[in-house]
Symmetry: C2
């Protein structure tokens, strides 16, 4: 699809994409989309009458989060997306030829501050990459028996903290906590020494289910609005000491970072791919009748305070053993209710080779293989002043749909 506004080569934000986010440029934060390097104020388009005929509620875009918009459900939200594609198509003059509105509604991405796109009710983190679970099991348990007995039967997940999920660009302080060295008798308190990222993606729930009801695998994608890139920050030494028997807690809840644009499932549909073969056979409530995975290229980059930058991982979402559809079906099979705006992250997405591992724990194999940075320094884990940048995009038959990036700078402990 070609547009009358410039879309740079290799832009993530093509006319095929049309993601949704919340932006502000001096005014109040409100709903926006992005095409090329332009952020488009959807409230301005609505007030100019360009969504007339869609029967949208008044002020639906003039809100600080997308929850109410998403609650309109896919027949409406997809119609909005299709209408935006129509408005920006090369041959459409409705907005192109209205200079005053164009100036009002379109801003350069550099002028716009992005905000959290949704009010997240509950957040769940899964653990769905077989390669990641195998690497962790090999390091910390038994290389010959790396996967725990339940892993091939259950899309293992756990609850995380919603309040500390922050938007790309928000710096995080190195967390403090209890750690205990193996040889020490007692724990000590201080800043984590093993600060790590986890390269993940997350989906945003687009349709609620009531308490006591379940969502089947084949219905599940109709309950998913879209996806973001997700950095599940982790303090490995805090995690090691606290996590038995009830799971990670302070090692995770000091912050998680997301990319600002929610890319819809409809934009991702052309990049659907098969999941890895599931053997042993899964229980029937987890069986998939079609492909529910997606081919999404992932990259993680460390950038030092001085600007030295290195790609430390190239992975792909298609490696996920458990699909989002299976995750959501599992999450609700006991009647657990999901609400619009809830977020479910994938777990670290590691590929089969060391250059595709999704955390420093795996990339440096517990620090035994440090990474050489271009400025001559080494990284076993993340240092104060470092920024971690994660990017994601799909590409097929010359079409590209991407997520932009999630970028987080680490500040020293307070």
């Amino acid at each position: 699809m070609s547009s009358w506004i410039e879309i740079p080569t290799n832009s993530d934000f093509t006319l095929e994409n049309i993601p949704f986010g919340i932006g502000s440029a001096g005014g109040n934060p409100r709903a926006a989309t992005r095409i090329g390097d332009n952020v488009i104020d959807l409230d301005a388009l609505q007030k100019a009458g360009l969504f007339a005929g869609l029967n949208l509620p008044e002020e639906i875009f003039n809100q600080p989060v997308l929850n109410d918009f998403i609650e309109l459900e896919k027949p409406i939200t997809n119609a909005v997306r299709a209408r935006i594609q129509e408005l920006f198509a090369a041959n459409n003059g409705e907005l192109r030829d209205d200079e005053a509105l164009r100036v009002d509604a379109l801003r350069s991405v550099s002028e716009v501050q992005m905000h959290m796109p949704v009010r997240i009710g509950d957040y769940t983190d899964f653990y769905s990459s077989r390669e990641h679970a195998t690497n962790v099991g090999t390091m910390f348990r038994d290389p010959n028996n790396a996967l725990l007995p339940n892993w091939l039967h259950i899309p293992v997940g756990y609850h995380g903290r919603a309040s500390s999920i922050v938007i790309s660009g928000t710096p995080l302080h190195r967390p403090k906590g209890q750690t205990k060295a193996d040889e020490a008798e007692l724990p000590t308190f201080g800043p984590t020494r093993l600060l790590d990222f986890e390269l993940e993606m997350a989906f945003v729930v687009g349709k609620s289910n009531a308490l006591g009801t379940s969502v089947s695998v084949e219905e599940a994608e109709s309950h998913i609005f879209g996806m973001v890139v997700f950095n599940d920050w982790s303090a490995r030494d805090i995690q090691k000491w606290e996590y038995v028997p009830l799971g990670p807690f302070l090692a995770k809840n000091f912050g998680s970072s997301i990319s600002p644009w929610i890319v819809t499932m409809e934009a991702l549909a052309p990049f659907r791919s098969a999941s890895p073969k599931q053997e042993p056979k899964v229980l029937s409530y987890l069986e998939m009748k079609k492909d529910h995975n997606f081919d999404i290229n992932l990259e993680a980059i460390i950038e030092t305070e001085g600007g030295a930058s290195k790609t430390v991982s190239n992975s792909n979402f298609k490696h996920m053993y458990w699909s989002m559809a299976q995750q959501l079906a599992h999450h609700t099979v006991n009647g657990c209710n999901m609400n619009v705006g809830d977020m479910c992250a994938s777990g670290t997405i590691s590929g089969p080779t060391p250059d595709s591992y999704g955390s420093m724990l795996e990339i440096t194999w517990r620090g035994s293989k440090p990474i050489a940075m271009p400025d001559g320094t080494e990284r076993k884990f993340i240092q104060d002043g470092d920024s971690v940048i994660m990017k994601a995009y799909c590409e097929k038959n010359g079409k590209r749909v991407g997520f932009g990036e999630v970028r987080t700078k680490v500040l020293p402990a307070t």
Copy 2:
């Protein structure tokens, strides 16, 4: 304190209490308090001018949750509570002598439906009873080494699901899920066979802290608005198969039940008590300079569909090894942000003797010591049609402050 309205002997809702909740009697759900068997519409009192002088925002009580009221912070919320005590004091005629307002604002508790008192952002469950952790460790691990190495150093906690916390009176369906018998090769799917309650209490956060900041032990109670009784429903067979390594998930998130009235920390202050001695010494960020525990009597009752009822546990909140102040200090020591309305549950509160254990798992010792019900049936765990009722109250020097009850009926699996 004596009142001009009747307060039955042994009522939990004395003039010393004045809890806050959300009720409706035909109209919209809004803020209320309870004295004796009367529910008092706070919006009606405000509109009649009885809170004039407190500078409350208009319509602060005419809302479906208490979050905005609680955000006014303790100097204001305590002044409201004190003013209610004044209005209902035996010698005060302001409301007593205004029959029209009295009829409008006071309803019998039997006419009022209670609703969730707060919009819960995030929910955390702790594991702070030494007796409970010891019982679980003895049953499932090593009786001679029942507590895990971190337990005496960390108020162990984990994130739970906020969306499925329901108000007393809301029935829950028996959840379905994956379980695996020890001797079986593969898991199976079906309704849980080991449905259990956990007798807990929870506190409601009353003051936010920003991401990256911490709340000290001695500040912590000023960040707690009040408490409720909490039934942390658990499916033991699902839990056993899923919880390693990331903690309980579907075994818990099908539902948790709370009592409707938030009893303030100020009402609980006269019942302050010492915590059990903490040995080994805790790290300095967890040290307490004064008593932060509370003497709250707890009772759990099973009532069959036919009405046969039996008290199966009498416990006390004072048994808690880790105080709420320590829990909140620990939760935020890494910079995790808490928001007004967030809820933190205690974990099962077991006392030292079998009649004070706080779950069927412990009371029947994994089903090996079934409970005889008055109708001749037995209970190892909870059956379809059973209701579980939990009650809590404080009593000292003839003064009583209580929580009422949380009552939940179990329906068959869907």
